[in-house]
Symmetry: C2
Subunit: 473 residues, 2 copies
Amino acid sequence: MLQMAPDEMRELAHHVTDILVERVEGLGSRRAWEGDFKDALANLLDEDPPETGQPARDVIDRAVQDVLTNTLRLDHPRSFGFVPTCPTWPGVLADFMVSGFNVNAATWVTASGPCQLEETVVGWFRTWFGLPESAGGLLTSGGSAAALHAFVAAREAAGNPDRAVAYMSDQSHSAQIRAARIVGIAPDRIRVLPSDASGRIDPGEVAAAIAADRSAGCTPLVVCANAGTAAAGAVDPLPELADICAAEGVWFHIDGAYGGFAVLASRGAAALEGIERADSINVDPHKWLFQPYEAGCILVRDGSTLESAFAMHHDVLQDSVWGARHANPVDRGLQLSRSFRALKIWMSIQAFGLAAFRAAIDNGLDLAERAAEHVRDSSTLELVSASLSIVCFRINPGDLSEDALTNLNREALARIFWGERAFLTSTMVNGQFVLRLCIINHNSTWDDVRETLEVVERYAEEATGASSTTGTD
Amino acid sequence: MLQMAPDEMRELAHHVTDILVERVEGLGSRRAWEGDFKDALANLLDEDPPETGQPARDVIDRAVQDVLTNTLRLDHPRSFGFVPTCPTWPGVLADFMVSGFNVNAATWVTASGPCQLEETVVGWFRTWFGLPESAGGLLTSGGSAAALHAFVAAREAAGNPDRAVAYMSDQSHSAQIRAARIVGIAPDRIRVLPSDASGRIDPGEVAAAIAADRSAGCTPLVVCANAGTAAAGAVDPLPELADICAAEGVWFHIDGAYGGFAVLASRGAAALEGIERADSINVDPHKWLFQPYEAGCILVRDGSTLESAFAMHHDVLQDSVWGARHANPVDRGLQLSRSFRALKIWMSIQAFGLAAFRAAIDNGLDLAERAAEHVRDSSTLELVSASLSIVCFRINPGDLSEDALTNLNREALARIFWGERAFLTSTMVNGQFVLRLCIINHNSTWDDVRETLEVVERYAEEATGASSTTGTD
């Protein structure tokens, strides 16, 4: 009924392989962004499911042409918007294998090998982040789910207090706020504290807020620090926050979704000092560890806190007690049926070696430093911030009001979006509308970064009539 | 650094293709279950990441041999334990394509084509379940995450009441309880009501519990009904529960993780009558819609309830307002970065046609009916329940105590697990330890089911000395 002959299976897989390899070969020569508007896409795609089948090769071709081409190429070497990602081919093949082997990495019974390999990979992460042997973790769909796990573990460890409070900065990711709300922390007990000019939370503000909440009869539950804000790469003062959390008995969570894996590079490890004191950390291998979507991870200092929060008995799963000494990921998190996300991490690191991953992370840090220099030296651009691999800047000819600057930069961004090969996005830093490069693609070169900045400078010149002078590269 | 030459990419992908196609070709002749113990696996896999790379082909071969072979083959035609699944090849290829295209189906900006196609697929589901045009939904990692979305939407729609109560039966899946706890419903306000002999909740009990909670100053929030319990395929009295929820203003959630897609077959649609009255339904395409992991889905009667609960503003995503008329899945759920789960559903239905999916679901229902008949006619087996495609039974020679029966069946299960090609699991039905077949694989034949039952009968005969007489097949 739903089965195919082996020859057809092979032929189709080879066809898909050709499509994917040709895509990678031609990536740099295409635009980073493609897409279409709602009406055009609905016109193309909104139809009832067919009663009878179509030739599978045609279905594949249609999926490519009508659907997959209409995407942002996040692995394009000039894709610097949001937080991009550029997976490796062994990682992509691992996803293919996991689907083909139909792995459900729920329990020892369903997948003893995969569950063990997930332990191995989580163990690597534990070591990289300096967590003790007692630490544990789980691969998740991403940082949002990972943060959710942290907050549930924190809440359960604190005995599910009624008026729990979470603390974070105004630079914290909305995913953290959303996760806090999902687990039932009331919106008016999520303290969004102001950050300083460099995007860092003030530990004194955190301590004061905790004291005020205790006086008001609330229970300070969790402090969420940033190990690299998504907006500007800012790292909160982790050691000071760790001290406060230790003194107050408050759970110390760190959001390393974007920046966490910078610890693999020495500069990154220095910037993220104190991360080893976290009670929990969420990181995203599908960002700076070069994995295809989806791969997030929650690490907790005390592995048993996840099991206390998530383990459930269910009759229909009673045979899962077989192999009870084994890792049963289902007891550690939200998901029951689970794909096998560890394989891509393991296979890509086995194939390239960890040294190559370190070098790839260093490459992002290097390019960001050079980008910041270039902006600093530019007569039309203003450097607003540079931290880890994120550079925020704006076109600033020097004689415009803030409103006019915002309009100028917004206009430039829109024109680049519609007309150029590169893709970048905007954010707000200290109330200013800024353009932003997040440079983590292992294939990006200095030419990619420089030419992207030069595109912005060209728009700046056109808009202002100014002429840009930059250092020689 | 982390890039490969196109020729090597092709060669590796062809190698993986050969592995996967040969796996499918040889599936029936292997055992459904393989695995190993903790110590052996740790010995094999626990090692530090290598600093330098290994040949990628060797890495792939090692992943197959040491890791992927140690799994339950959930798509084996005699894999009847838990809730198995058997994906189609176009579905597997879709996962390969999604990884290769590196899709982040978060927003219109990141993936306008994929986001639109997800709308299309969710629209199909909406129609199948008889929900109104106003309904909306989201693909998720699975049923657990989908239920979480339902409870958050219910909680937000009710204004986040302080003492919220959830109602479900003792046959409800632990994933529902876990999701309720994650969103902050206190364990002592999750009412687990008794089910009747056929595994169905008593609507009178639900109404009484709601009344008692109102009197006690609690807020009845959500009734969770089963459209096919995982244990026995039992369907709660959906129309009666819908009436109660409508009268009481309580959110009506239906867990269709295992059984939901039975609506595509006429028998299934009849059994699930009333599902169209749900406020939310969670279903799992990675179960009875023949998709590889992961593919869950939450459907809500009023699509805006998801956005009210989950939409967040964040500066670093401010450019996502572009295309605001478009579907932005990120505003509807937990995940920000999201893989593109709709493609496998769309591609497999395009390639085979919906009629083939209906026939495949009918095949499961047919085989389950024949299995129940076979058990009924067997002199050594006792039929305990049969509903949808789940058959629960036990070895019962007729002269043993309940404890002895449990031991006998437990022993038989363990021997089948270690020694036979087929895989089945156990559960509890009405306090009895039973063996259980969940028959949803489109490749399973009557021979697969019959011979599996005959294996159980053989163990029964060996253990009891009785001789089994069954109807001719």
